[in-house]
């Protein structure tokens, strides 16, 4: 029987994907589980596996083209089967990847005024299918249509879908206000204009939304990293010889400290939600990992229950798989706080931008030698590390943030406490 | 053709005063001058649509309508300017209507083919050939229903007699004893086709009335006295017996079916047209008659003509200076209830542009 291969949902917020490249050609034999293509989602490039056996007969979406969730990508036939008379009716909704999507502005931003001002369909069918009523309700409630799975005919989002969707939920991204026109750069003849990839588009949207919609304030401390350096050296030497051999990085300890501090000061492990603050039961750490295309943030879930070893291993594993584009969709979901570490890049200090809908982000800078004043009022050579904490003032007040950083400092400067 | 009988001796004509006779000439002349002025402005591009001219047929309308009384009603087809002026409409309102102005008799909404004056018992002005013939039967029906002693003069062209509606009307008129007089203005041509090529008949067109047991007669339209005498017979039949009549009045039109008729000079020879103009023109003939009877002098006749010309010229001026209708007028006069602002007119949506 002929099988249509459709665009799978590879990320919880994905609405469309770009076919980066096919790993199989027409005529190839396909088996269940075989990787057949690479798909770029809003979060990362992932590989797509086959769910059916058959011969790959025809490809509808070419490398570089986009298709919406459920869009037809290819046709599989059984051995010796004739293709069905589908003719040219197959509309995969594929459009060239270079076409700028209007999707951002179709989102039900509270910023846009009249409901009726939504733009018309982009050719190629990449538009969100939602009934006029659903759009109206979504606009009124600030619900993001791209986050909703439609249950109407053809996947259309209808009223009940919007009503059942969480209001300003876990990953609300409101589109930039269209009221302020972008100030464009002048492009010279020798300049290059590089169209945004899906990932860069999402990064741009999310971070702009974060900066414009979350009231940031910044706390900075400078910790004594010498005890940590010593402690780490001690642990690595011991670990080498043990059964659970593992190379621990400074970042591992920082993550442990971040998590434990969040357990101690649970008010920071929270999110703002329209008219309430959600306090999370688990501490899920989003770890920023640099990859070729940009930045991804896989999540270590339930980090409060993980040992230093487990955290260390998780990080290694996630980072490696992130770079190899082998992360599963749920590995990006549900982070409650983020740690961004530029220590390896020689940064003395910085403040990061909160990753919405989280309430804070920790910015780790490099450990540097610098003169310090010791307990005896003597100037000595110290090993210092600057820590920045960017907070959402709707959730975290200055005193609470300070409390958190105080705990963090306590753990970092007395690292043995992390093992308790 | 009973040319031996001098219809001037008919009682109805004996009763006609000098003023009456002069009035008939005046109307004939006025119609002619109006039509000529209209033609001039039409060819100058001042009017849209069609223009069906009555030149040469004036004696039919004027002659018959001169008999119409308070309860007699008139309805005709699209060659209606003559009948309009004959019933007493003004040149101003008629010319303005041709120009499509708000001061036109139909507020600019009808045009050449649709002059109406209910206050003068004149019911148009109809564009569909023979479409007015059932209406004529209806006007007669209404008169009878209301117990009035009256007739409906319903005019039609010789080309209209082949339409089904005309036959249905004759049947109803005879069956229901309706006081309707169908006046076939036979100008010899149906658009571009001569009578012989379009109508099957024995001796004449009116004879078909026999089949419906309706009285009929033929009339020489050039002779106003004959027109009056024979129409009077039909009037009396209508008033006294409530029975219909078909009159076939032979006449002639100088111009084509309409001014747009490019073939008018092709299907008739110029000689033919000239013959008629000199020997059969109603103005020429009636004026000659009145001069002979001593009712009118040459000077008076000339003066009359001058006045008619001036009146027509004034009408043109009036039309040119009049405004066009306002855009909102497009939606007026569609529904009586809406125009009157009655409750019915304000309930529910009547127009659907928005």
């Amino acid at each position: 029987m002929a099988t249509i291969i459709e665009m799978p949902k590879l990320s919880d917020t994905m609405t469309e994907g770009t076919l980066v490249r096919w790993l199989k050609n027409p005529g190839d034999e396909i088996e269940v589980g075989m990787e057949i293509a690479e798909i770029e989602t809003d979060k990362a490039t992932m590989s797509m596996e086959a769910f059916d056996d058959g011969i790959l007969h025809e490809i509808y979406v070419q490398a570089g083209e986009k298709a919406p969730l459920g869009g037809k990508l290819a046709l599989l036939l059984e051995d010796g089967e004739e293709p069905p008379a589908l003719g040219k009716e197959i509309s995969s909704g594929s459009i060239p990847a270079t076409a700028m999507e209007e999707e951002a502005s179709t989102e039900s931003a509270a910023a846009t005024s009249a409901v009726g001002s939504l733009p018309g369909p982009v050719s190629g069918g990449a538009r969100v299918k939602a009934s006029p009523l659903a759009r109206k309700i979504a606009a009124e409630r600030g619900v993001n249509l791209t986050q909703i799975q439609g249950t109407g005919p053809g996947g259309r989002i209808v009223k009940r879908d919007v009503e059942n969707a969480p209001v300003a939920g876990a990953s609300v991204v409101t589109a930039p206000s269209s009221a302020v026109a972008a100030i464009r750069p002048t492009i010279g003849a020798n300049d290059e204009r590089i169209p945004l990839t899906g990932m860069r588009t999402i990064i741009a949207e999310r971070l702009l939304a974060s900066k414009t919609q979350i009231p940031h304030f910044y706390l900075n401390i400078d910790v004594n990293a010498a005890p940590l350096l010593a402690f780490r050296q001690q642990i690595n030497q011991a670990s080498e010889k043990s059964d659970n051999a593992n190379k621990y990085t400074i970042n591992d300890f920082i993550l442990k400290a971040v998590v434990q501090s969040a357990v101690a000061v649970p008010d920071v492990n929270a999110s703002f939600d329209v008219d309430a603050i959600i306090r999370f039961a688990s501490v899920n750490v989003s770890v920023a990992v640099a990859v070729d295309e940009g930045l991804v943030t896989p999540v270590i879930r339930d980090a409060q229950d993980k040992s230093l070893l487990e955290i260390s291993r998780s990080v290694k594993d996630l980072a490696a798989r992130a770079r190899a584009k082998k992360l599963a969709p749920d590995e990006f979901a549900g982070g409650t706080l983020t740690v961004s570490n530029l220590g390896a890049y020689g940064i003395d200090s910085f403040d990061a931008i909160i990753n919405p809908p989280q309430a804070f982000i920790i910015a780790i800078s490099s450990i540097r030698k610098t003169p310090v004043v010791d307990a005896n009022d003597q100037i000595v050579i110290g090993q210092r590390m600057a820590i920045g904490m960017s907070c959402d003032h709707r959730v975290i007040d200055g005193a609470v943030g300070a409390q958190y950083l105080a705990e963090f400092r306590r753990l970092i400067e007395n690292p043995a406490l992390m093992l308790l | 053709m009973n040319s031996a009988i001098d219809h001037a001796t008919a009682p109805i004509n004996q009763q006609l005063s000098s003023e009456g006779k002069i009035s008939i000439l005046r109307d004939i002349v006025r119609i002619r001058r109006f039509e000529q002025a209209a033609l001039k402005q039409y060819t100058a591009g001042k009017m849209g649509g069609f223009l069906h001219l009555y030149n040469g047929q004036e004696s039919v309308a004027v002659g018959t309508i001169s008999l119409a009384g308070e309860s007699d009603h008139i309805i005709t087809a699209y060659r209606d300017h003559g009948h309009a002026l004959a019933v007493g409409m003004s040149m101003n309102e008629c010319m303005a209507e041709l120009y499509g102005k708000a001061t036109g008799c139909s507020k600019g909404k009808g045009g050449s083919m649709h002059f109406f004056a209910p206050d003068k018992n004149y019911w148009g002005g109809h564009g569909i050939v023979a479409g007015q013939t059932p209406l004529g039967a209806g006007l007669a029906y209404g008169l009878k229903y209301q117990g009035l002693k009256g007739a409906c003069l319903c005019y039609l062209g010789d080309g209209a007699i082949n339409q089904g509606a005309y036959h249905e009307s004759l049947n109803l008129a005879a069956l229901f004893d309706l006081p309707v007089i169908y006046v076939i203005e036979n100008n010899g041509y149906s658009m571009g086709t001569s009578q012989k090529r379009s109508s099957a008949f024995k001796s004449c067109l009116a004879e078909r009335a026999d089949g419906y047991n309706i009285a009929w007669d033929t009339v020489n339209g050039e002779d106003v006295y004959e027109v009056r005498a024979k129409t009077q017979v039909a009037m009396e039949r209508a008033h006294e017996e409530s029975r219909p009549t078909v009159l076939e009045i032979s006449t002639y039109r100088y111009y084509g079916h309409s001014v747009a008729d490019a073939n008018s000079k092709k299907y008739r020879s110029p000689e033919e047209i000239k013959q008629y103009q000199e020997h059969h023109d109603p103005i020429v003939l009636w004026r000659k008659r009145l001069l002979e009877e001593g009712v009118l002098t040459e000077d008076q006749a000339s003066e009359m003509d001058k006045e008619a010309k001036a009146e027509a010229k004034d009408a043109v001026k009036f039309a040119e200076e009049s405004p066009f209708p306002e855009p909102k007028a497009i939606l007026e006069d569609v529904y009586y209830e809406v125009d009157q602002g009655t409750e019915a007119g304000q309930t529910g949506k009547h127009f659907f542009n928005d």
Partner: protein, 325 residues
Amino acid sequence: MRTITYRQALNEALAEELERDENVVVMGEEVAEYNGAYKVTEGLWKRFGDKRVVDTPISEAGFIGMGIGASMLGVRPVMELMFWSFAYVAFDQMINNAGCVRYMSGGKIKCPIVVRGPANGGTNVGATHSHTPENFIANTPGLKVICPATAYDAKGMMKSAIRDDDPVYVMENTKLYGESGEVPEEEYTVPLGVADVKREGTDLTIVAHGRAVITALKSAELLAAEHGISAEVVDLRSIRPLDEETILTSVRKTNRVLLVDENKPFCAVNTQIATMIQEKAFDYLDAPILRLNAIDAPAIYSPPMEELQLPHPEVVIEKALAVCK
């Protein structure tokens, strides 16, 4: 309240208006001595006589044109078409004269006529006897057209039609003549231009006129009992003038619309309703507006086939479920 048939309701309306206004005349083929082909005029000739109830020859263009002519003088003819399918031979009179004479005279004339008769399929009388031309009439400014579906509406609206000073064309239905309904004894009228919610509901709006209303009501019962869908049925009653507000209020409430019309699809009345709704209630629609019309061919004779051809509960329910997905 007493229950009478649709036919009796019409008969009463005609009798009451003949009584009330001496200008009213009933005219048509077989309306007098035969008591009406469908007995709508039964007893009227006996009661009112030759002058008020008039038998005409088979001559629609002739007698309808005659009626229009008489109406210009103040007579108020109520003219019967044995079938609305016979109107076409009289269309020149009905459209060009009744519909245009007022306008072309600049408002000097009015034609207070009524043309009435059954306009329906579903009786196996073949293609040329089964037309429902309310859409043609509705397209003509200057004319009015109504389609009562119940005895109550038939009587009330016929009276209003006769009293209306514009031409009103009334589409009845041979299949409704025998249907009964509650009709008050006291004098009442139903105004033109007002729709009626025949059944309240919350999940779906079904808009219909004429016999399709009865079909819609039957379908609504089944939708409730078997599918848990609460359908609201809006009876247009009056096509032109049209009550848009009642339709829109219902759409705003239910957000889903099915338009049922016994006419064939292209340019049927429900096309006008559909475009009106999407224009004026766009943001209230949770699904596209769906229409259900007769299958797009001349009316078939074969009885079971004709039943299939016209909207019937099974297909109404099918479409309703599609709208409610």
